[in-house]
Symmetry: C2
Subunit: 278 residues, 2 copies
Amino acid sequence: MKEIVYLNGQFLPRSEARISPDDRGFIFADGIYEVIKYYGGKPFRFGDHILRLKRSLGEIGLSFDAGGLKEIFEGLLAKNGLGNTQAGVYLQITRGAEKRVHYFPVGINPTVYAFAFDFPSSKEKLEKGVGVITHEDIRWHRCDIKSVSLLPNTMLYNKAVEVGAGECILIRNGFVTEATHSSVLGVKGGKLLAHPLTNLVLPGITRIVIKEICESSQVEFAERAFTKDELYAMDEIIIAGTGSEIMPATSADGNKIGDGKPGPLTKLIQDKFFELTR
Amino acid sequence: MKEIVYLNGQFLPRSEARISPDDRGFIFADGIYEVIKYYGGKPFRFGDHILRLKRSLGEIGLSFDAGGLKEIFEGLLAKNGLGNTQAGVYLQITRGAEKRVHYFPVGINPTVYAFAFDFPSSKEKLEKGVGVITHEDIRWHRCDIKSVSLLPNTMLYNKAVEVGAGECILIRNGFVTEATHSSVLGVKGGKLLAHPLTNLVLPGITRIVIKEICESSQVEFAERAFTKDELYAMDEIIIAGTGSEIMPATSADGNKIGDGKPGPLTKLIQDKFFELTR
């Protein structure tokens, strides 16, 4: 089946989707994105994703009317036969094409690109967990903005892939912030820990869901940064994200986490998360 | 006259140049660029630019044969009637188009985009100087790589433009690093100061030229970071770059620098620079 994508008001075959190389998304990474997961045709936390999208757009001063996105996404799922499965929708909005100037030009049309893709859960990894590595967090200081300025994320994730690890956890000034494309939560003494929602981390939507699960399950959720040594000494580590879902990390830099198997709190949260999504 | 650009082996009208929105330059800012200035058809410090390009490519693990670039650039100048003027050539190389994965896919063709543009010196500004502002340096920690992951640079430069300033000087942990798209040098007591060439600044080619001018003019050039307060107290400030050339900054955050006019060392370096380029 021919893949159909969405570009600037049109559904068209992927091979025909073309943009100008003068697009500021290409020249300056001057754009924002979101990835939304659909479970059997139903979007998970659609409102939260749109809210975050609008916030990101606002932070970089990009005007865009987010109305109509739901219909576009549903169109993509339908046209690609992804309406009854686990599917992702990728959306990117850039400031548009214009003569190369470092400031923000006004009066140009944003570029809107979206596509849907098969996005199954990583069953085996969710059950058995993955090993992760750590690296200094070399990213910019506005990681709360979900921008396409992602070269550092790809460089660092690539380091994980090179050694067969599932993610690369980032350390800024000694403290765990998040991972290259997911949130990081630690479990210690029955309590969940995560970096406070500052400019150094993305406000992860799966993380919000985890916090809600904790609240309804009488599990303490503390926003407190923890060090790399504390990471190694966690009872459990959770890698959380739209793609990762609730992924156990069972080793970090070769150090076994807990007994090296997904722990009870991770499993509890996984179960509750699957109830919400399946 | 129709603008002619270069894209992946072809010279073609700008309006016909099109890339895939799946290009990793668009999706991940996974690419490198250079801007070279031609004075009357002659490239200035071509070898240094190519050397830096190769280094940047190497640092992000992007294989690309830089041979043949000179001919492409000369073709662009000729086809656009820019052979006898001050012209710039912009070159961007990205990892190419591929299914969206955070790691570096192998075996795909890089995208190569280049265009030439009219690039006159800003005569009046070079004579009178510009006012600059400062802002916290929120960029990533590999500013030595000339990548297209430039959203922070555009956000920060935009702040300068909003208040009519000529550049935005960046402050990391209290120290001046560089500006959004130029190097920053201070003059104090007849000596030039610039941030050491670490991961936090781009090795500016105009800066190299300034250093050489200092050496041949018996002016001390010290690689030493200086604070924002030291910046305000400089006798002179130079904003240096391929586009800025040797630009005097005569005020910083509204504080007059020296007597508020371009100083003698700036003028000396300007003169020597113009001798080299004109």
